[in-house]
């Protein structure tokens, strides 16, 4: 089948971000002090475990960022010359999750349920009617009765630990082989020292998380095509699918917001600190003004205005996906505008300190241009502040998305996100019996993501902040 790649705006920025991360890694590997800091970070098991969790989330988000449109089969009257593409924009993740995406039910159903959550009037074969819980169209529909479920689950889950072990063993070998080549000695010895926790970096923790993640994914692969593992929501969509799709939205908001604001914050902060004078005054005035507006209200005002703008210009977007994507990006930009001030102030303060140091004075005495001093001597020495801020901001931005979406100033209602999931699930707790699974899934996915980010942020701060030992 032919496809038409549709790079959404946020997709392009995500690729840019991935490139920037690679560039940063290369830079860090060359620069001895920061290599030391990264090593300090890698020695902490918590940091390695959290980084692995975040990598798994990032991989899901990345798969969800490769968008395309499928070619429609030519209709009877169409000429073959011009291909027609579906207006529905899909991602690679959607393609992988096709069973989850298309196997929708009528309405709520509990995790692993065989029947719908609500009773319906059904026509019986003998002509009568009955007020029963109808069987699900897809969930557990291959089973003859409820008693067959446990053996079926056991049979399907039997191979998952083995698969997870294989994945982990492969990862272990991939780690041990280069280590063995550098240090000499056999691959097995290297693998043994990693498992014993004797490697320089805390690979053992990363491997443990890899095993757990592989186990979860294998169980998902084994069960999700046949069961609604996390149940279905009000319109019968699979909650596992919604949760996986929410990850990208959270990651986009958590990372792109900082990516958008970083250039401004760095340029203005360093300029204010190094140049002083009226430049400093002007920049300080700008961030004091922005800072004094309560952020929720500033975001609300900006988002409302952005909505009016998008609504009055429908011709800008080809598909609904592009429109909601533009809205997501605009939300990131708005969050960036409201959050650059604190980083800018930190950088200004640090630059004020640095410009008086001997090596900067020496560079000035040698006649180095201002641009060169800023680039070569100031910027590398404030990068730890930038890194710490980026990592610290991530989790709060993911949390902010949920709140903003609830208030009605977050992502587009059609964008699947943790915020929209919680928002829809809010009324469900009032039902009798309680519909708890949407909320619980959003809770667990968000908690894992944010907790990993928070713990990693702490480790990054400890490793990179020279004031902390």
């Amino acid at each position: 089948m032919n496809i038409l790649p549709v790079p959404l705006l946020t997709d392009c920025l995500i690729f840019l971000l991935a490139l920037a991360a690679v560039a940063l890694a290369v830079q860090a590997a060359r620069h001895t002090p920061s290599r030391e800091a990264w090593r300090r970070l890698g020695q902490r098991p918590v940091a390695m475990a959290c980084a692995t969790i975040l990598l798994v989330f990032a991989a899901i988000g990345f798969l969800d960022s490769l968008h395309y449109r499928e070619q429609l089969p030519p209709g009877p009257g169409d000429q073959a010359a011009k291909a027609v593409y579906s207006s529905e924009v899909l991602s690679v993740l959607d393609a992988l999750l096709t069973p989850l995406r298309v196997q929708t039910e009528k309405t709520y159903s509990a995790p692993f349920a065989r029947v719908l959550f609500q009773r319906e009037m059904l026509e019986l074969p003998d002509g009568g009617q009955a007020w029963v819980y109808p069987r699900l169209a897809h969930g557990a529909s291959h089973l003859p009765d409820g008693a067959a479920m446990l053996p079926d689950l056991a049979r399907r889950l039997l191979w998952t630990p083995l698969a997870a072990l294989l994945v982990t063993a492969a990862a272990l070998l991939a780690l041990a082989a280069p280590a063995a080549r550098i240090r000499g000695g056999g691959v097995l010895d290297a693998a043994r020292s990693i498992l014993a926790g004797r490697s320089t970096l805390a690979w053992r923790a990363a491997l443990l998380v890899t095993f757990l993640a592989a186990l979860c994914i294998a169980a998902g692969v084994a069960l999700a095509p046949f069961y609604h593992v996390l149940g279905t929501d009000k319109v019968g969509q699979d909650v596992l699918y919604l949760s996986l799709k929410s990850i990208r939205t959270g990651l986009v908001i958590g990372t792109l917001t900082t990516l958008i604001m970083l250039p401004f914050a760095i340029a203005l902060g360093i300029a204010a600190g190094y140049l002083g004078g009226w430049v400093d005054d002007a920049i300080q005035y700008a961030y004091t003004v922005l800072n004094s507006i309560p952020s929720v209200l500033l975001i609300a005002a900006s988002v409302l205005m952005m909505q009016v703008m998008i609504d009055s210009n429908p011709q800008w977007f080809d598909t609904a996906a592009q429109r909601s994507d533009a809205r997501l990006l605009a939300l990131c930009a708005i969050l960036g505008i409201t959050s650059w001030t604190s980083l800018c102030r930190l950088l200004r303060g640090e630059t004020l300190k640095l410009r008086e140091l001997d090596y900067v004075q020496a560079a000035r005495a040698f006649g180095a241009s201002t641009a060169a001093i800023l680039r070569r001597h100031i910027l590398p020495n404030v990068m730890h502040i930038v890194l710490i801020t980026v990592v610290l901001d991530f989790s709060s931005l993911v949390l902010a998305e949920a709140v903003l979406s609830y208030v009605g100033i977050g992502v587009d209602p059609t964008t699947i996100s943790f915020g929209t999931m919680i928002n829809m699930a809010r009324a469900e707790l009032a039902r009798e019996p309680v519909v708890w699974w949407s909320l619980a899934s959003a809770f667990v996915f968000m908690l894992v993501l944010v907790l990993a980010a928070n713990l990693l942020a702490d480790a990054v701060r400890d490793a990179f902040d020279p004031r902390r030992g």
Binding site: S292, I293, S312, L399, L439, D458
Partner: protein, 325 residues
Amino acid sequence: MLAYVVRRLLYAIPILLGVNLFTFVLFFGVNSPDDIARMQLGSKYANAEAITRWKAERGYDKPMFYNAERKDAARLTDTLFVDKSLRMFTFEFGRADDGHDIAREIRLRMGPSLAVALPTFLLSLTAAIVLSLLLVFFRATALDFWGVVICVALMSISSMFYIIGGQWLVSKMLMLVPISGYAGGLDMARFLGLPVLIGVVAGLGSGTRWYRTIFLEEISRDYVRTARAKGLSELAVLFRHVLKNALIPILTGVVVVIPSLFLGSLLMESFFAIPGLGSYTIDAIRGQDFAVVRSMVFIGSVMYIVGLVLTDISYTVVDPRVRLG
């Protein structure tokens, strides 16, 4: 001191002017009043005549900065910027887009907002400080370690889950208090207990961790060693000496939010149906009532600047070495 306060308040004028200009550009520059009228009327009813009438009824039918049709000073004063933006300096907020008087609404709704926000603020401050001092007391033990881990876990839970979970557990399962609502007088306690409790719990993680770092920085100072050398118990050292000396960093974060308390919390008030300024703002956002949002932005900024001045003054109260001049 008085001279200092006056000077600080004078400094606030250019900042508020900046806020004012910024919001004006945001609300009138990004989209023209025509666009907004079209959206408010709905595309079905938005013909040229209806838009003109909508604008005239709400006073949006003037030029932005310069009115060429008027004479002398009126050329500059009879404009949207003066009408809709500069007027706010005299706390004249005019009418909302649906016609009600904004200033009156704000006066009515301040009380309920304060009734929730003030107890939440005081209780969570006390709880966080006491808990963090306990963590510092048990520093470098397993209790401290797990305390911090629990704090990070508490921080990682979205505040929406605290509210939804709390409402479900306390109101629906245990049936202790009504799920939401508000009443004056003695009944107030029944309605406010749950939101205050949830507000305190939701802020506990980040608060405790924040104060713990502040106290840990203080604990390595010389005066702490002196106090211990005098033979004071560790608890006395912490609660009497360290707490007092850590007041400056604590006040920096705390005092600035006090004036903003009456603006209320968007989430709490909307979930618990409390008729305060937070739910007023949320209703305005959902109903796209720009006049109300504009007013709230301005009030919020004024309160923030007042908070900054109060912070400086509070320094002189707790630390006699600080002199404002």
